[in-house]
């Protein structure tokens, strides 16, 4: 608790951080409010979304079985992982067969099989939950984050500080310095220039990656569809260019059918970034002809949460609106949500203060006390989760 307190003080005293957080909150809350004006029936939508998610969680096993069956019929290889360790084992198993494939494809002994495997990764908070990058890098695999915010924090050797906007704790001057140092470009705070630089680097990554890795925003049980939303198109790139695509999904992230998906998609981008729709919305069914797709469905404490008083927290669609509305998050930013062992909780903010201890235990339990119960989170939640409760 003492380290948590000193971490709180540290955040409060960091003026650069405070400015970045204020800017984030202002921008996101205004954006969200403006976006919701275009759906005047948002209250009803929210209630419907809540009911749909409640139904899914209540009958999770049935929906999962349906989802898995459809995926397998579509030629997707489905794995179930009961915890982080198992998920990592499965992923490492897939990488090993990728290494063998590359060996077989390169007959000449030109040393190409000695180059490390490259994984192009689009944003996945559940991969943070299982500390995937660390585990992969320890075996010599190169993992490059392709979401611009994730790429930035990766270059800084940091964890994401927000579940939607990983670099929300940074000001553009810091990114300018970072790119100057790590990517060798002259110092500039011109955002199009910074973005174009990252794009050039990441282009190479997409085109040469052995494996594309993504999360899953929603799985549609009825059709076996995997839905991925991004603004940068990196989700599309990682899911279609490399010969192998691995999608990692929290087992609760399902909706029953495509119509429900459409409802969720009317709420998620508006809540997350104030957009009516993200720039790219992908609905993946069958893998491409020369592609192998693996879908890994992770439990890691979700089954236990389902049968606990914290069940409602599983309805979350990971929009991040609660983080933007929360006065605690606004002072701290994600990196200050630390456990007793000083590790950063994989999920910060109001939802994080419930599911980080909920899924990962005692270590994070004091995070739930860092709340004034002001209710701003419940107010903005598109699925009407009673987080203060």
């Amino acid at each position: 608790m003492n380290t948590f307190r000193s971490r709180i003080r540290q955040s409060i005293e960091d003026q650069t951080l405070q400015t970045a957080l204020d800017n984030n909150a202002e921008r996101r809350l205004k954006g969200r409010a403006a976006a919701f004006e275009s759906i005047p029936d948002w209250r009803e939508r929210r209630q419907r979304a809540h009911a749909i998610r409640a139904d899914v969680i209540e009958h999770l096993d049935e929906y999962l079985n349906q989802f898995i069956a459809k995926n397998e019929a579509n030629g997707v290889i489905v794995h179930r992982a009961k915890d982080a360790a198992e998920a990592i084992q499965i992923i490492l198993g897939i990488t090993e067969s990728s290494v063998s494939r590359r060996w077989n494809e390169n007959n000449a002994d030109d040393g190409s099989r000695r180059t490390p495997l490259l994984i192009a990764k689009s944003k996945s908070m559940v991969s943070e939950e299982i500390a995937l990058n660390h585990a992969l890098e320890n075996t010599g695999i190169r993992v490059i984050e392709t979401d611009l915010g994730e790429y930035i924090v990766q270059l800084r050797h940091e964890r994401p500080s927000h579940i939607i906007t990983p670099a929300a704790h940074l000001k553009k001057e810091q990114v300018a310095e970072l790119f100057q140092e790590k990517l060798g470009i002259p110092y500039t705070t011109d955002i199009p220039t910074l973005t174009a630089t990252a794009r050039k680097v990441l282009r190479e990554v997409f085109l040469t990656a052995d494996i594309g890795f993504s999360g899953v925003n929603f799985g549609v049980a009825e059709t076996g569809t995997t839905c991925i939303v991004t603004n940068e198109g990196n989700g599309r790139m990682v899911a279609t260019i490399p010969p192998v695509h691995i999608a990692l999904m929290g087992m609760e992230r399902l909706v029953p059918n495509l119509e429900n998906l459409s409802l969720m998609l009317s709420l998620l981008p508006r809540s997350a970034t104030g957009q009516k729709l993200t720039v790219y919305t992908q609905l993946l069914n069958k893998p491409l002809p020369d592609q192998t797709r693996h879908l890994i469905i992770l439990d890691n404490g979700r089954a236990r949460l389902k049968n606990s008083p914290l069940k409602e927290s599983l309805y979350c669609i990971r929009c991040g609106a609660c983080l933007n509305a929360c006065p605690v998050f606004r002072e701290l930013s994600g990196h200050a949500y630390i456990g007793k062992d000083n590790s950063i909780a994989p999920y910060p903010g109001p939802i994080g203060s419930v599911i980080s201890p909920g899924l990962l235990g005692e270590n994070y339990v004091h995070l739930a006390q860092a709340s004034s119960l002001c209710g701003a989170c419940k107010d903005v939640c598109p699925v009407d989760i009673d987080l203060p409760k």
């Binding site: 003080r9 002072e331 701003a376």
Partner: protein, 241 residues
């Protein structure tokens, strides 16, 4: 004569008795009697918020019993205590076939003060006078907890001589958060700073609140920073003739 039961709240009882008095005066002018059940205590919110459910339940049981011996609507000068009775008591007795109905009866008779005046009595003009500018801070529990917002604003709009201005970012928590100000004083202080700077931006010398917790917190901050603005409970403004 109709009578209401006053749930005075521990904060008003201990620190702001004038607020309680103002409520009695207002009801008296409206021809409504105010009864006061002497055995009432705190509603149990600090314990509930701290996760001490057993203690909170003991207090809730006592409160239910005290008010079962009385008749009439219960009026309280606190959105958070009203929220406690109407929401959290039901959670405390969830699944208890003996106590839940009793908790529900209590909840059904409980009103926040401005909510009672406007929604139950249909009164928005109390003939109050105030020479000066006012701005309103909605407490978290009043605004989001029990969805009361139009009512206090309507009452303030009818105060003769007063200019009511908007408080920037009014819906942001003041930082009191009940026990949060004790558990995380650094966070609490940051939000208080923001609330006070928004108050200064409003250019109003007087801030009006419905909850004594916010009152204490903001007034304390203003005092320590030697600022001239003051905080008033809405009952005292509405009682000003």
């Amino acid at each position: 004569m109709t009578q209401v039961q006053l749930f005075v709240t521990c904060l008003v009882d201990s620190f702001f008795p004038k607020t309680g008095q103002a409520i009695v005066d207002i009801f008296s002018r409206l021809g409504i009697g105010v009864d006061f059940a002497r055995e009432q205590t705190c509603c149990g919110q600090p314990q509930f918020n701290a996760g001490l459910r057993k203690d909170a339940r003991a207090i809730a049981e006592h409160t239910i019993k005290v008010f079962e011996r009385t008749q009439g609507d219960i009026v309280t000068p606190s959105g958070s205590c009203a929220h406690m009775f109407r929401h959290n008591y039901l959670e405390l007795f969830d699944g208890d076939p003996a106590w839940l109905p009793r908790a529900k009866s209590l909840a059904a008779r409980t009103f926040e003060f401005t909510e009672y005046l406007v929604d139950k009595l249909g009164v928005t003009d109390l003939g109050a006078n105030w020479d000066g500018t006012l701005t309103y801070h909605p407490s978290c529990h009043t605004l989001r907890g029990i969805n009361v917002d139009g009512q206090p604003r309507a009452l303030l709009a009818n105060v003769r001589g007063a200019t009511v201005v908007e408080l920037p970012h009014a819906e942001e928590c003041c930082g009191f958060g009940g026990i949060m100000s004790v558990e995380h004083p650094e966070l609490s202080a940051e939000w208080l700073k923001r609330k006070i700077s928004n108050l200064e931006a409003s250019q109003s010398p007087t801030l009006v609140v419905t909850d004594a917790g916010c009152l204490m917190h903001i007034a304390g901050g203003l005092n320590r920073q030697a600022k001239s603005q003051r905080v008033m409970h809405i009952a005292e403004v509405l009682n000003s003739l």
